[in-house]
């Protein structure tokens, strides 16, 4: 449902080529540091214009669309919440560009879904890192878009909490016709949560590979990265 056709991306002295098609489900993007995983997500999310090629979701060409108009919801590595707004207001921004959207019944629903029931009136600073991550997840959920991008949003949480959040994300966002695309530098994350894997290395994004099969018999680039 997400198709990258002859996509070429360029950033200061670094290029990435991608030509692949991803089905709905959970796909992990793995590869060495600096290899271009976040760059790939930026291109899908609309923060990097490609040099050439197309990005399509469910057959619709979104290459020229700005981030907010794409059928894509995004969680960044940090800065996912506005510190001066309450959780409910932050989540409400996923529905409309107004503070009043906080009162929409869907907001309370998604907050409960991620385990933050009753905390809607708090500001992010008064919550733990894990709770803030859940709030960001709640907003992605309420946006109800076919593609959700996660650029290592839980990496600051510590291994146990990160595992928990990934599992929650996969569970909550799971829906027919939805793709959850997550960048991770920890292959364990891919193994535990992802159905398929995209490998970004040596200037190319290749895949999707079925997770189990890939780790059972890794290609040379992946082998080097895994260090076996």
């Amino acid at each position: 449902m997400l198709t990258l056709t002859d996509l070429r991306l360029a950033r200061e002295g670094f290029t990435l080529a991608a030509d692949l098609s991803l089905p709905p489900g959970v796909t992990a993007v793995i590869g060495p540091s600096g290899g271009g995983k976040s760059t790939l997500l930026d291109a899908v999310g609309g923060f990097l214009a490609p040099v050439s090629g197309r990005v399509e979701v469910d057959g619709r060409d979104i290459t020229a669309l700005p981030p907010a108009e794409r059928p894509v919801a995004q969680l960044f590595q940090d800065g996912n919440l506005f510190p001066h707004l309450t959780l409910a207001e932050n989540v409400g921004l996923g529905i409309a560009a107004s503070r009043a959207a906080a009162r929409d019944p869907r907001v309370a629903q998604v907050l409960a879904r991620v385990g933050l029931e009753g905390l809607g009136d708090r500001r992010p600073a008064r919550l733990s890192g894990g709770q803030q991550s859940r709030a960001a997840l709640a907003r992605a959920l309420v946006q109800d878009r076919p593609v959700v991008l996660l650029d290592e949003p839980f990496s600051a949480l510590g291994p146990g909490l990160k595992q928990e959040m990934l599992a929650l994300a996969a569970e909550v966002l799971a829906a027919p016709g939805r793709l959850m695309l997550m960048v991770t530098h920890d292959p364990e994350d891919a193994r535990s949560v992802a159905d398929s894997v995209v490998l970004v290395a040596d200037g190319r994004a290749t895949g999707p590979f079925e997770t189990g099969a890939l780790f059972a018999d890794p290609p040379p680039a992946l082998r080097a990265y895994l260090g076996d």
């Binding site: 995004q74 960044f76 800065g79 506005f82 921004l93 560009a97 107004s98």
Partner: protein, 501 residues
């Protein structure tokens, strides 16, 4: 609507108000006669006093800033805050304080008389430079202090370890970077200084171009000559600003001055003397005003209170206008907005006033527009300072939250309302406080326009001083300082309360 669109109109408005008024003035200038010897004398004096003021301010600031950078002592925070005060202080008030201390009949005068020495003459070049140093030494000290604190502590450790000469190796490069910008900033400020020259200058040997413009308009009704002088003033400022544009002007508004850097060189006693001297230099005139003012409060005529009310109204209007203009400029990238953000620094308020005077004169009596024009010109003059506070803050906000705002489709008014303004509250409060205090204490354009019924508080105070009602003037001074600092504190406090949320 794009957030950067209003900035274009604001830039245009500022070009109109600075260059357009200059054009109106140029059309009236009588260039036939050329400059009289008195006018050349004014040009020479203007450049000389600005040069000396900047020189002394910067040179004396070096030991003071160095002392503050490397010594920690109880009350250091107060001294650093004190360094910020003269910028907000109404010029008339400071001059009155300096007169009380250094004037012929002042405290120093009494000491000299007691010692059998001739009394000090504060009028003329010495007084003008003294007053300018009073205002700008703290500014220079703040700039240099920031420079000192920016040198990483590790380098001082390394220098101490190696026994390397700290001055040549560390401080020299830093000073070479900061001093030219500081010097030029102060030079520019002193070129257009009016109120100081008005009170402490005057006479054939101590008249600035700005003062000459005022005299031509106010006493001789010679529009042509005033126009010619206005052109010269703009030329002087533009030349200085062109020099300054090449050199990065340092930012004196920054915070983070409460650290010290551990050092192993220098004498503690010498540093203590410099800090004490600077503190006394700033505090004694302020104390003089406070003391005299308390006594004078009862002697103030009723006109003072009316003037105070007018000043407050003008200050509030001017502040609101300045904030709107500055925000619009800060939201816009590009050269037009950047230029518009610094152009008012090069423009002289009396030149702008003269231009508006020329435009208004056929249609309305100048006195009836005195207050609105003052509010407009005050707003214009505050824009550069406000923009230098708001721009970096906006950049920071965009860097931290811009991507999220883009991803959520927050643009235009929604972005302003939901993201930018809430997070700009602290710098907005500070900038508004600056604008309000500066407008409150301004003695400039109002002198051209106002009749007896439209005086602002600084003008009223100046008139009281002029009619030798010094006690009443002192009372007015105390009232003015209280209102100015009070307004600053209210706005700044409003801005900082955002963090409590």
């Amino acid at each position: 609507m794009s957030l950067s669109r209003p900035g274009l109109f604001v830039a245009g408005l500022i070009f109109l108000l600075t260059l357009g008024t200059l054009g109106a003035v140029a059309l009236r200038a009588e260039t036939g006669g050329g400059l009289s010897p008195a006018d050349w004398a004014a040009v020479r004096f203007t450049v000389l006093q600005a040069f000396l003021s900047a020189l002394f301010s910067v040179l004396l600031a070096i030991p003071v800033a160095r002392a503050l950078a490397r010594r920690s002592f109880p009350g250091r925070g107060a001294v650093v805050t004190l360094l910020g005060a003269p910028f907000l202080l109404p010029v008339v008030v400071a001059v009155m304080g300096l007169l009380t201390v250094y004037g012929r009949r002042g405290w120093l005068g009494s000491v000299f008389a007691g010692l059998g020495l001739p009394p000090p003459d504060i009028y003329g070049l010495e007084g003008v430079v003294l007053a300018h140093v009073f205002f700008n030494l703290p500014l220079a000290a703040r700039i240099l202090l920031m420079g000192w604190l920016a040198i990483p502590a590790e380098r001082f450790r390394l220098a101490a370890h190696l026994g390397a000469p700290v001055g040549r190796v560390l401080e020299g490069p830093m000073l070479r970077t900061l001093l030219p910008g500081a010097f030029l900033t102060i030079f520019l400020i002193c070129l257009t200084s009016f109120a100081v020259a008005l009170i402490l200058g005057g006479g054939p040997r101590a008249t600035t171009v700005e003062l000459a413009i005022y005299q031509a308009l106010r006493f001789e009704f010679d529009l042509g000559r005033a126009a010619l002088l206005a052109l010269i003033q703009f030329g002087l400022c533009a030349a200085a600003a062109a020099l300054a544009f090449g050199i990065a002007l340092p930012d004196a508004m920054g915070g983070g001055l409460d650290r010290t850097v551990r050092r192993w060189d220098g004498s503690r006693i010498v540093d203590a003397l410099w800090i004490a001297a600077a503190a006394l230099f700033l505090l004694v005139p302020l104390a003089a005003v406070a003391l005299r003012g308390l006594g004078g409060l009862l002697e103030m005529p009723a006109s003072v209170w009316a003037a105070a009310a007018r000043s407050m109204a003008v200050a509030l209007v001017s502040t609101a206008l300045a904030m709107v203009l500055s925000l619009a400029l800060a939201l816009r990238d590009g050269r037009a907005a950047a230029l518009a953000g610094v152009l008012p620094l090069a423009a002289s308020p009396l030149v702008v006033g003269t231009g508006l005077f020329i435009l208004v004169q056929p249609v309305m009596a100048p006195a009836s527009v005195a207050l609105p024009v003052t509010a407009l010109v005050n707003a214009l003059l505050t824009v550069p300072f406000a923009v230098r506070v708001l721009s970096p803050a906006l950049r920071q906000i965009e860097a931290r939250h811009g991507r999220l705002a883009d991803a959520l489709g927050l643009f235009g008014v929604a972005r302003l309302r939901l993201v930018l303004l809430p997070r700009l509250r602290a710098p907005l409060g500070f900038a508004a406080g600056l604008a309000a205090a500066l407008s409150m204490g301004d003695l400039g354009v109002i002198t051209l326009f106002a009749g007896t019924g439209e005086a602002t508080l600084p003008l009223e105070m100046y008139r009281l001083m002029g009619s030798y009602r010094t006690e009443a003037a002192a009372g007015a001074a105390l009232l003015l300082v209280t209102l100015s600092f009070g307004l600053f504190w209210i706005f700044d406090r409003w801005g900082r309360r955002a963090d409590a949320h």
